[in-house]
């Protein structure tokens, strides 16, 4: 089988300005953050992002990488709103297509099935229709004659997702409770890149989880990268929970230009290994402060 393994920079070298990129996960859960951080380090710009949005949206918006965001929501889960997405929107600098989250699913399914659209009830009567002027309805050709929303295919140039395990051929395994929509993001994309906590041999894949945990097969995987703790600070259970103290630090970095600058210098000025070291130092510092208080 073809070895599809690559590096985070190898993935980013395949991306171009103006591309439409779908990012898997959900809110602040199992986001391919190492790949997002690699995009932050790059010169890429004018990207359109399709996402069940979390800090992937906020970070890329704050760094000025985005022209447009297509989403149903943007949230950090335990922190309801992402401050950087919010600030970019309120400055009026971000183009958006806001859909019902089920409409996003319909759009991904349509793209994955090479259909121009899929009908759905979601959106009817709401302002989603007015906010997306290109969006139109379709009348059932059958006896019911019901009018439905024709959700257009959300065709992606590239999908980026994060798995718990993968092999070098690009078979991907999730071990948490929810697959989210990662297989659909990959199927809706011309190219899909999978980062994972751990690259294992194909024989080892079923040592850690049951057959249905093999969410991605290699038909859709263009490249695969091992990025331990690569979903940080979002959750990637059972490998790790969300890093709540760090997420609070991230949320606080939206308070001012200075706070963002400081966060950026401290955590995002180097490569992925610098980032992981800075995170370790962040926690070590917190522990020392805690111990000092106890003493």
């Amino acid at each position: 089988m073809q070895d599809r393994s690559t590096t985070v920079d190898g993935v980013v070298s395949r991306l171009r300005d103006g591309m439409t990129i779908g990012i898997g996960g959900w809110g602040s859960r199992r986001k391919p953050m190492a790949l997002v951080r690699a995009i932050l380090r790059s010169e890429l710009r004018d990207l359109t992002l399709v996402s069940y949005g979390g800090p992937d949206v906020g970070l890329l918006a704050a760094a000025g990488k985005l022209r447009k965001v297509v989403y149903g929501f943007v949230s950090l889960d335990s922190v309801p709103l992402d401050p950087h997405f919010r600030a970019a929107r309120q400055r009026g600098e971000l183009d958006v297509a806001e859909y019902d989250e089920g409409m996003v699913l319909a759009g991904l399914r349509a793209a994955a099935a090479r259909l121009p659209f899929l009908p759905t009830r979601a959106g009817l009567g709401s302002d989603v229709m007015a906010l997306n002027p290109g969006l139109t309805t379709v009348t059932s050709p059958y006896a019911d004659g019901e009018e439905l929303v024709a959700m257009p295919a959300l065709e992606l140039d590239v999908a980026l997702v994060h798995m718990n395990r993968a092999d070098r051929a690009g078979n991907g395994q999730y071990l948490g409770p929810d697959p989210y929509f990662d297989d659909l993001f990959c199927a809706a994309a011309a190219e899909a890149y999978v980062s994972c906590e751990q690259l294992v041999s194909t024989e080892e894949l079923l040592h850690t989880g049951p057959l249905p945990s093999l969410l991605l097969d290699r038909t859709h995987t263009t490249g695969v990268v091992e990025t331990p703790n690569g979903a940080h600070f979002t959750s990637c259970v059972p490998d790790h929970e969300r890093d709540e103290p760090f997420q609070r630090q991230y949320a606080a970095s939206g308070k001012s230009a200075e706070a963002w600058q400081e966060f950026r210098e401290r955590f995002l000025s180097g490569d992925e290994s610098d980032y992981q070291q800075a995170v370790d130092a962040f926690h070590a510092g917190a522990t020392e402060r805690q111990e000092a208080r106890v003493r």
Binding site: E98, E101, A122, L131, P177, Y180
Partner: protein, 249 residues
């Protein structure tokens, strides 16, 4: 039962909104609606499907804040199944609202203009799909004129006027429970009507805190929890009293 708290009155009002739900997935957003759904499962709606807030369905009712600890898991409900089943109608939600109008149009998307909103909120999320597909009720923990508005800035959840206009056959927005009152849509042309006020709350107080005229005919007092319900709330459903964080006494 003089020591019944406002939060407990609200929880029981929320529980009543699930009473006729049957075998459906209960999706309560917020603490008090969650107390309500769990209480309903223990009393009037034993067939409700409850989740741990993630992807597990729970056959019994664990205490609030304990996740699935000690509960029997009876099924798997990841987000994509939720999105499919809500279109199939086997779900009932109680959502929040940043704004809501007299027709039940709800906004959780943004305040201000589209191009440069004054406040960007979470996004329409599942509100358009929920309201067009299955029973959707609302929980407002702080009843005030900034929430109850003449006209919402973005229609996320669909109200009765718009539902009628698009012939929404599965639209069913029934009640709005707040920290002051229970409202429904039995006013003229399916507009918001004050159904009951909580103990210690006046009709005038509710109207003052609502940014549009409410339909008001017979206003009852919201019913108090029975002693069985009170016992279930305090000892089984919410022993840590998380409900008081959402509605102070």
């Amino acid at each position: 039962m003089n020591d019944v708290t406002r939060a407990e009155v609200c929880a029981v009002a929320c529980a009543d909104s699930w009473a006729d739900a049957g075998t459906v997935l209960a999706s309560p957003i917020g603490i008090v609606p969650t107390v309500g759904a769990r209480l309903a499962k223990l009393t009037t709606a034993p067939e409700l499907l409850l989740t741990d807030g993630e992807a597990q369905l729970l056959a019994d009712v664990p205490p609030m804040g304990s996740g699935a600890d000690g509960a029997t898991v009876e099924g798997w409900m990841p987000y994509r199944k939720v999105l499919d089943m809500l279109a199939g109608g086997q779900r009932r939600v109680m959502m929040g609202a940043t704004q809501i109008d007299r027709h039940g149009n709800q906004n959780i998307s943004r305040i201000g203009t589209w191009d440069a909103p004054k406040v960007q909120l979470i996004g329409v999320r599942g509100a358009p799909g929920n309201t067009i597909n299955h029973t959707t009720n609302y929980w407002i923990p702080q009843h005030g004129p900034r929430v109850f508005v003449e006209s919402v800035d973005v229609v996320s959840g669909v109200g009765h006027d718009r539902a009628r206009r698009v012939g929404a056959r599965y639209h069913d927005v029934s009640v709005v429970v707040t920290d002051l009152a229970v409202l429904d849509f039995a006013g003229p042309e399916a507009t918001m009507r004050l159904r009951s006020v909580h103990p210690g709350v006046t009709v005038e107080q509710v109207q003052e805190n609502t940014g549009f005229p409410l339909a008001i005919d017979t206003v009852e007092q919201t019913r108090l929890p029975t002693s069985e319900e009170l016992d279930l709330i305090r000892s089984t459903v919410d022993p840590k009293d998380l409900r008081s964080q959402e509605v102070a006494q």
